[in-house]
Amino acid sequence: MTKSLPGLLLAASIAVVLATVPWWNNAVLLQFGINAVQLAVMAQAWNIIGGYTGSPSFGNSTFYGLGTYGTAITMVQFHQSFGLGLGVGALLAVIVALLVGIPILRLRGPYFAIATLGLAATVGAIFANLPIAGENIGLVLPLTRDEPLFYELSLGVLVLVTLTVLFIDRSRFGLGLIAIREDEDAAAVTGVNTTLFKVTALAISAFFTALVGGIHAYWITFVDPSSSFDPRLNVNMVIMAVFGGPGTVLGPVVGAFILSTISEVLASSISTAASLLFGIVIVLAVLFMPKGLVDLGYGFRRLGWRYFTETVRQYRL
């Protein structure tokens, strides 16, 4: 799906507007913004391996956690700079992705998903037992009260990862990934080096996920096993990407922002029923817009309300 020029210009101008948020003097909004942008990065990074390549990873929290710990250990135990810490975290994640990716990516569908989940649990348990990582207590990072910095950094990573996805969407590499998603055996006999492509996609995904993990760690000034390797992160990033539109350039970003907003609004107004409504939103979304918001947008313009009936007819028994 190639994006038209007007669409890109619109996205670029929205990015510029978003960059000015720190100057709106709204601390609550800024904090919400940082969280939402970081979730958007994770959803977008997942999009590369889950959306384009069709390998549904439920273990990207592994790379997130590696990013947080890589940064934390570099800064706290070795007294190095934040920049170096980020680099270490990202490198760690990429190395793990390459090493573990090769055997795990041979699995298909839900088996791959559960293997990635297992990976996340295992890596989390390892860090919970490492002295250098502070074992179960974790580590405390140096304090830097500079919310705008963290916001702009996160936004910068979001722009970077989105540009990467845009590039992938238009490249030979991207068409290869899509071919793998649509039919891996057919892709293989058409000459696509499926192993290389899948592992590369996973590594790119790991890189950006780790990057945002490192930023998050420095922002909240601590890391510990349960928050760094929180399994709910995985579900969140997958839901956001799928809600917005997997395999599209802007879908995951849109999905992340919208769902973050809904979640925040629900939590602050009807906090008790928030999770109930969230669950209902998910069920309805899968029923009526299983291909995501972006596809809904295009489809509704073409077909109007018939989009919904067509979708249901396509997927019903």
């Binding site: 238009r170 490249s171 030979r172 068409l175 290869g176 899509i178 071919a179 998603r181 649509e182 039919d183 055996d185 057919a186 892709a187 293989a188 006999v189 058409t190 000459g191 696509v192 080096n193 499926t194 192993t195 395999g247």
Partner: protein
């Protein structure tokens, strides 16, 4: 041209204790069209999967242009110039017809082309060759039966193969369509492609093949010109069953 483009020696493949292919040996000469027939379940598609690399062989040797390829994964074989169509057709459903063929152009012979623009041009050429140019923007999953066959063919051709494995491209086509495909296949051979054709449509096999060989229960039971093979009593028996005494 003495080296056959494809040579199979003693190929054997087992599934959970069942022997799908047993000690199959044959060769395909350069620019030859070799027909492969046999009743359902004889192992024809399994043989094609062994050649394309989709399934590994348990025993035997497989030589492409004189070199052993049994250890190569499917994508390497595609890059060497082996193209195949699938009997149960496997288009990339979410992609357009044009994009489907572009994949072949991008990743085919010797790694294909680098730029999507070049690939698009090549894909358009192959769509015209197979008569699909007016459907290029349609989603592949919305195509009807005969057009799906054409798409399978176009995808395989975009690889610029030297060896083409056609698995029942004519199933479900009416006689006119069959004649068209036969002409198409001959044109492909004239471009310098060697072809292995699996078919049930005997008329097509007779018109197309230089030689034919027959599989039954995973074993080769006959080989020769179409006329010789069709007259062979063992072949008749395989298809029609044992004659009651």
């Amino acid at each position: 041209m003495s080296v056959p483009i494809l040579e199979a020696r003693n190929l054997t493949r087992r599934f959970h204790g069942l022997t799908a292919l047993n000690d199959v040996t044959f060769s395909l000469a350069q620019d030859e069209i070799l027909g492969l027939i046999g009743p359902n379940g004889a192992g024809k598609t399994t043989l094609v999967s062994l050649i394309s690399g989709t399934l590994p062989a348990d025993e035997g040797a497989l030589l492409f242009q004189g070199a052993e390829i049994n250890h190569l994964p499917p994508f390497r074989r595609a890059r060497l110039g082996i193209g195949r169509t699938f009997q149960v057709m496997k288009p990339f459903p979410g992609l357009s017809v044009l994009e489907n063929v572009m994949v072949g152009a991008l990743f085919g012979f010797q790694g294909g082309v680098e730029s999507r623009t070049r690939a698009r041009e090549q894909a358009e050429f192959w769509l015209e060759f197979t008569g699909l140019q007016h459907r290029s923007e349609q989603r592949a999953e919305s195509l009807g039966g005969p057009d799906r066959k054409r798409l399978e063919l176009a995808k395989a051709l975009a690889l610029r193969p030297k060896l083409l494995l056609l698995d029942e491209v004519m199933a479900g086509l009416n006689p006119t369509e069959i004649d068209e495909v036969v002409l198409l296949v001959k044109r492909i051979r004239d471009e310098g492609v060697s072809i292995l054709v699996i078919e049930h449509v005997m008329k097509a096999i007779r018109n197309l093949s230089d030689r034919v060989f027959v599989l039954h229960h995973g074993e080769k039971i006959a080989e020769g010109t179409p006329d010789t093979v069709f007259a062979d009593p063992r072949v008749v028996e395989a298809y029609l069953g044992r004659r009651r005494q």
